[in-house]
Amino acid sequence: MSTLLAAAGSLAPASRGFLSPTGVEIVFVLVGLAVLGSALISVTTRQLVHAALWLVVALGGLAIEFLLLTAEFVAWVQVLIYLGSVVVLVLFGLMLTKAPIGRSPDADSGNRWVALGVALASAGTLVTLVVDAFRTSWIDLGAGGGSTAVTGASLFRYWVLPFEALSVLLLAALVGAIVISRTGKGGAKPRAGKLRTPRSVGAPRPARATAAPEQQER
């Protein structure tokens, strides 16, 4: 961590005023407003797929914010994982299950006020914490502060153990998901790659008749 901070500049007390705007900061605030706006639309829109697409805008804006903070690597990770994979999976799930074109009022949740309260509380906590922690400190964002080399060195020198623990956790979750999705009577699944031909359409199938109730139970 110390190298990361050293590369990013010192946490010197502010010789400048609190939030004296430079060009980068103005852009940062503007993009931040856009992110906030699209996040708000994302939770208030009545169209499910639109909500996911506004989420794309919000997450993309966050990637730009990371770039402005010179955390280049984190920005591309954000693009790769959140835009390229997570949102796509969300969209995939929505489209496979329930995403009519137009409004879907039945998807409204009854506890939106509770959600709003929780969101405001957590946002308040975070903002207080960050403002309190960094009130008088000023990090000079020199070039290369969040570059791949610095991030990699920090991650694999100082944070190897948490990194590996997290990897094992994710691997366990992955294996668990596969195991859960595969439980059931083995051998009943169609093998991938073999074309399933309907056997003699119209012919009586006595073996199936006994198996049918069991299948319905699952």
């Binding site: 169209q47 797929v49 639109h50 697409l53 794309v56 280049e72 690597f73 591309w76 990770v77 693009v79 790769l80 835009l83 390229g84 994979s85 949102v87 796509v88 999976l89 969209l91 995939f92 489209m95 496979l96 995403a99 074109i101 137009g102 290369g144 570059s147 791949t148 080399a149 991938a192 790659g193 074309l195």
Partner: protein, 320 residues
């Protein structure tokens, strides 16, 4: 880098984006015509049917731009742009020649390129869903599933090269290149190129748009210029894939030509690979959906992992 320089570089990338895919398209017409004995495209305009592409362009431009009545208008109209934009951004980061002959040298170049290319899938999903059509939705979902599966072997193959070069920057990787990398990284090159073909939904892997089965998948409802934009993004994708394979696995500007002519060498390799892409379209039969998925998960990913292990072993052996 001042503003004028930046604008010029962006403009150059845009021009490349607008012209090179057309060259690849024209080549495809001619190569397919010769390989499959197609006579049609050889006549328009006289010599070797040079005007066929122009005629195609005019045809696309004069078709009415239709949005289906039941469609989600905005999303439907936005989808082609979302599909096309990533390739334009990627072109900015591909190095063409030595000494900074690149739109923008990005520190984590290979990572940037693969991350941004992953966004293209959103365009297909949006197109498929917003068309309000079962077959389009099916095509969009197939596209998404295919792109998600094939992104992994592509990333792993890219990781192998990055490991060999010890850097993520694309110019850095070409700088570190030696001729013996070609046999060393051959498996990775195969995996990268094949997975890239699948990402583009080119014919051996064109199940999501299979024109004879689900009529063009996510793009069924598109007409005129918007459809042309989807086609352009496919051809721009060929350009990007071939350029990336050249840069990562074939040594980019390294070659027998003098150093100052390196960009020519890059272009030659890129177009040779584009020819292979077209060749594969003409000669390979289409894979079925389940075969497609099985190929990704049981062939390409193990191969990519094998290449990673091989790279690691040789890398350690060299450094000692």
């Amino acid at each position: 880098m001042n503003l004028l320089d930046m604008l010029l570089r962006c403009l150059a990338a845009l021009v490349v984006m607008l012209t090179f895919p057309l060259i690849i398209g024209q080549t495809e017409h001619k190569v397919m015509a010769h390989m499959q004995g197609r006579l049609g495209p050889m006549y328009a305009g006289g010599f070797h049917g040079w005007a066929q592409l122009v005629a195609d362009g005019v045809k696309f431009a004069q078709k009415e731009d239709i949005v289906p009545a039941g469609a989600d208008r905005r999303v439907f109209q936005l989808a082609p742009a979302v599909a096309l934009l990533p390739y334009l951004l990627v072109l900015l980061a591909v190095p063409v020649g030595p000494n900074g002959f690149v739109g923008q040298a990005i520190d984590a170049g290979i990572f940037f390129v693969l991350a941004v290319m992953g966004i293209g899938v959103l365009g297909s999903l949006m197109a498929g869903w917003a068309s309000a059509n079962k077959f389009s939705l099916l095509g969009g979902l197939r596209t998404a599933a295919q792109l998600m599966s094939y992104e992994l072997p592509m990333l792993l193959a890219g990781a192998s090269v990055a490991m060999a070069a010890g850097t993520l920057s694309l110019p850095g990787i070409v700088d570190a290149f030696h001729w013996w990398w070609i046999p060393w990284q051959a498996i990775g090159a195969f995996v990268f190129f094949t997975a890239g073909l699948a990402e583009l939904q080119r014919p051996p892997f064109d199940m999501p748009v299979a024109d004879s089965e689900i009529i063009f998948g996510a793009y069924t409802e598109y007409t005129g210029l918007r459809f042309a934009l989807f086609l352009l993004s496919e051809y721009a994708g060929i350009l990007v894939l071939c350029a990336l394979t050249t840069v990562l696995f074939l040594g980019g500007w390294h070659g027998p030509l003098p150093h100052s002519l390196g960009w020519l060498w890059t272009l030659l390799k890129t177009f040779a690979l584009a020819f292979v892409v077209i060749w594969a379209r003409v000669t390979f039969p289409r894979l079925r959906e389940d075969q497609l998925m099985r190929f990704a998960w049981t062939v390409l990913i193990p191969l990519a992992l094998l290449q990673l292990v091989l790279t690691g072993i040789i890398k350690v052996a060299i450094s000692q």
